[in-house]
Symmetry: C2
Subunit: 352 residues, 2 copies
């Protein structure tokens, strides 16, 4: 016969004080409470395994001790790599260390206005947005209302929007530098359309590497994909054919998205180009998929769990209203060298 949950009043009764005093003790208020009383209350609370009722506390304080994660779309999950789960692992860990819970808020809400009302109406104290796709109205509205939002692994242009991101430009530089060192001179870059901050940044890093290497003539061959689209096999086939038919043909490919990189690598052989013999491929993010695929793919990785942890810290600072040193916290990217890159064949080099 499970006993009723202990309430503050029960703790107070047991300690022989009023609820007010018990509340003061448990919330660490230093209002001249003698050690003996303090101890009695703490003992009573421990004895009853007391924890404040979340809803009651929220109602009184206006704080939920919850942080939300806004999922832009179902694909955040089903994107079949571990990008999301690795960030999430960091978020959950760090949140728990701060005695916060994590609430998942779905994109399947009937409309963004009710999601908005829920978020600002006691669902969470602040939200994290993890996405490669930008949200239309929700985030700007939250920002306009002064609600704490932190973007994870991407950025919005809005001045009020804080983010944790990695140094995409340096990442692009790393990728290009690696290919240049292997002897490649004709490099193609696949990246997303305008909306994605990281696409342009990575491309810019590649350009910088080429310039530093004295390759500032033509620059890399580039091809955008449409923002907001999910990768599909047709896109992969088209792009693989584009690689084959480019003249002069690139000997190496930098693809700013891991799944797309994988799809392209799988398509290239069917156009007569082997990886890495004819075309080297570098991807980004370096999760499971890059590591286990065949051939394992050289990839520029992000420290995903750390990014998740930092995002929680930044969001909590925003919620508390603490000044934060920067609007964007940056992490370095790291190059993981695997089998998808090799030196270009002599013929290809000569042709350039």
């Amino acid at each position: 016969m499970p006993t009723r949950r202990a309430r503050l009043k029960d703790v107070a009764d047991r300690a022989g004080v009023s609820p007010t005093t018990a509340s003061f003790v448990l919330n660490g208020r230093t209002d001249a409470i003698p050690e003996s009383t303090r101890q009695r209350v703490l003992d009573a609370a421990a004895g009853l395994n007391y924890r404040p009722h979340a809803a009651a506390r929220s109602l009184a304080t206006g704080r939920t001790r919850r942080i939300g994660i806004v999922l832009n779309q179902p694909e955040s999950f089903s994107t079949r790599d571990t990008f999301f789960s690795e960030i999430l692992a960091g978020i959950v860990e760090r949140s728990t260390e701060h005695d916060r819970n994590v609430l998942l808020l779905s994109a399947h809400y009937p409309d963004w206005r009710s999601l908005y009302a829920d978020i600002t109406g006691g669902a969470a104290d602040g939200v994290l947005q993890i996405s490669r796709f930008l949200h239309d109205k929700l985030t700007p509205t939250l920002l306009a209302a002064g609600f704490p939002v932190v973007c994870v692994s991407f950025q919005l242009e809005d001045e009020r929007c804080f983010s944790v991101d990695c140094d995409n430009s340096a990442g692009g530089y790393l990728a290009a530098r690696h290919l240049l060192d292997l002897g490649h001179r004709r490099i193609a870059v696949l990246y997303p359309g305008e909306g994605m901050s990281w696409g342009a940044e990575r491309l810019q890093g590649v350009r910088r590497a080429l310039a530093d290497a004295g390759q500032n003539g033509a620059g890399p061959l580039t091809r955008e994909w449409e923002e907001r689209t999910l990768p599909d096999p047709e896109w992969a086939h088209h792009t693989a054919r584009w690689v084959r038919d480019s003249d002069p043909r690139p000997t190496a490919l930098i693809c700013c998205d891991e799944i797309r990189a994988r799809m392209i690598a799988e398509c290239l052989p069917s156009t007569g180009l082997r990886v890495p013999e004819d075309v080297s491929v570098v991807s980004f993010n370096s999760t499971e998929i890059s590591e286990r695929c065949n051939p394992p793919m050289t990839s520029v990785g992000q420290p995903l769990p750390q990014i998740g942890r930092a995002a929680v810290d930044l969001l909590l600072a925003r919620i508390r209203g603490t000044e934060t040193p920067e609007r964007v916290v940056r992490f370095p990217m790291q190059l993981h060298i695997r089998a998808s890159c090799s030196a270009p064949r002599a013929a290809a080099v000569a042709r350039c």
Copy 2:
């Protein structure tokens, strides 16, 4: 200048009724409220983009409209496959359809008693437990207190514990049947120690297939791994060597865990056994990792998103106190044939 959130009182004022009436309308109580009044209230609510304050409502009703997911350990996330995220995708989708939010409850809690107090004290109305590892005290205590718990993709022996699981026995049967059809006669099964319901069930399915094929003599060669341990390379090496040194040596391997299957397959070549030429390998779960690895692995898969959705439905039924037809909802497993299996070589067959 963002306006204050609309409260029930604001809606009531706008509609020219009392908060009580507004509450009745919005909660669908049929207490003889004429259509005209009803409409006025609904219009007012829509006009103000009203949503009830979550905490206030919870406090009054004792319901949170949240379902919790208890993460047994950080590895639930970082296990580097998409097992967890695919289930989670189904859970989040279905929860949103039911106008419920999903709360992630971490294993990093200082101790299970405070997690328990949080859960029963307004964190969620019921919890889902997704895990291959059993939890020690938390779940039994929740069950004893009559708190709704549903286990996802595994089961507890407790009579009060409801679960959504797949038909592991049939899955084991499928795996073995496939190998038998290819001509294998000497099959080894790797499975977890006692605690994991699915391990024993899958093994039992294999046994049944062998018996049906008239192979009921020796039965499969079996080897347990320790419950609750995470796969590590050392385990893989030991096990690979065990396979090589078994006499007579098995020509096929059924491994009840996907990551372990992958690790073994990666180790086998170093012991001189090729996959699938010398040893065929079948894994379970069939997520990304089985699909993309080299060679792609034949695997018995679970319909993970559907399992997640069904788990939400079952949990909500439990929360409502609705009678449910069964304590365990079962889903069929499906065999995905890939390149890790082939017919055994004649020599190996002859030796048996």
